[in-house]
């Protein structure tokens, strides 16, 4: 969760999500869930993402941090 590759990957991935949604951060969150977990986010997950973006001076960094959490979470690491 702390390695250099995951930091680089989340930065690039976040930029891609924003680019594909014309910088619409809410749509970027939905797209990230589709790409990483292959499903739609729950209401609570959307709220976690929104909180992360509102806590950073640069919302894109908040989104990147949330994406990093998505990659570190169980949902990504283990397939059921």
């Amino acid at each position: 969760m702390n390695s250099d590759p995951i930091m680089r990957t989340t930065k690039a991935f976040t930029a891609k999500m924003l680019e594909e949604t014309n910088n619409d951060r809410e749509k970027a969150v939905t797209l990230a869930f589709d790409q990483i977990y292959n499903r739609q986010p729950t209401e609570k997950e959307r709220q976690i993402a929104q909180n992360s973006m509102s806590m950073e001076a640069n919302p894109q960094e908040g989104l990147r941090l949330f994406v990093q959490a998505m990659f570190g979470a169980n949902n990504f690491l283990y397939s059921y």
Partner: protein, 280 residues
């Protein structure tokens, strides 16, 4: 099937019977690492368990075999089957000189000159036997009591039985890997994963891979990041797998990992230790 339908299918809640029975059988909440009292008051306060798979043979160190000496260079008095190299039946004794040491008179080879001086402080168990002749099966026998994979290691059982007094470090730490059987030497197998041994390295700067916070992440960001991972995991568990023990264990392990980030570095730092400890 459209991806959105597939996504919904993946999120169908289900109840796994093995989870229910597993929890019932072990009789504990899986995240239960709280200290527990053993059935008998222990005399020992601490135990260090050294499992040195691939180390020098005991026959060359402190387990002199008189029968090997008797038949040295001669054919064995019985037929050697299975692992006879080049079908040889010849016996070879240890090539090292053994001396009687200490008041106990224990025979120790000259390979261990310091050990020869402290031998009276050591208890030897000479009653252990095995019918396993190969490396891996012998290692499984030693750490799990059975000569094959799939059973919990002794450290996992101890963690399960006694718990831990330190919530910020794993109950069971394994230094290095277990010779040819690897991480299975400290596996919890079918016990919940929270009793698994956590691998640590004898490197104070990085005792666990990626344990240190990245340079470009502030302490506040890291705190929020770990909090989000935990929140996402709990949401997944609530929505999809409320009875899944493995998932609960993983969540507990992640939360432990967050607490470990500071503690593990402190534990692995030997600077504050006395010279006597450093000499060890």
């Amino acid at each position: 099937m459209p991806r959105s339908d597939l996504a919904r299918w993946r999120r169908i809640p289900f109840c796994n019977l093995t989870d229910l029975y597993g929890a019932e059988l072990v009789g504990v909440r899986i995240s239960d690492l709280t200290p527990k009292k053993p059935n008998f008051a222990p005399k020992a306060q601490r135990v260090m368990f050294f499992y040195i798979g691939g180390g020098p043979s005991t026959i060359d160190m402190f387990d002199l075999k008189p029968t090997l000496v008797k038949y040295d260079g001669k054919p064995a008095p019985f037929e050697i089957k299975g692992r006879a190299l080049n079908e040889s039946q010849q016996v070879m004794a240890s090539p090292w000189k053994f001396s009687h040491c200490g008041e106990s008179g224990r025979q120790i080879s000259d390979l261990l000159p310091h050990f020869q001086k402290v031998v009276d402080k050591v208890t030897f168990l000479r009653s252990m036997t095995t019918d396993r002749i190969d490396h891996s099966t012998a290692q499984f026998t030693f750490v799990t009591g059975r000569g094959f994979t799939g059973f919990p290691a002794i450290g996992a059982w101890v963690s399960y039985a006694l718990g831990t007094e330190n919530r910020n470090l794993p109950a069971y730490i394994a230094l290095g890997e277990g010779a040819t059987i690897g991480a299975r030497a400290h596996s919890s197998a079918w016990l919940p994963p929270i009793f698994n041994g956590t691998s640590m390295r004898a490197d104070p700067s990085a005792p666990i891979f990626d344990i240190k916070r990245p340079d470009n992440m502030s302490a506040e960001q890291q705190k929020r990041f770990l909090s989000m991972v935990s929140a996402l995991d709990h949401e997944q568990k609530t929505q999809c797998y409320p009875l899944d023990q493995d998932l609960e264990s993983r969540i507990a392990n992640y939360e432990l990992a967050a607490r470990m980030q500071l503690e593990a570095l402190k534990v692995a730092n030997f600077n504050q230790e006395s010279e006597a400890i450093k000499k060890l």
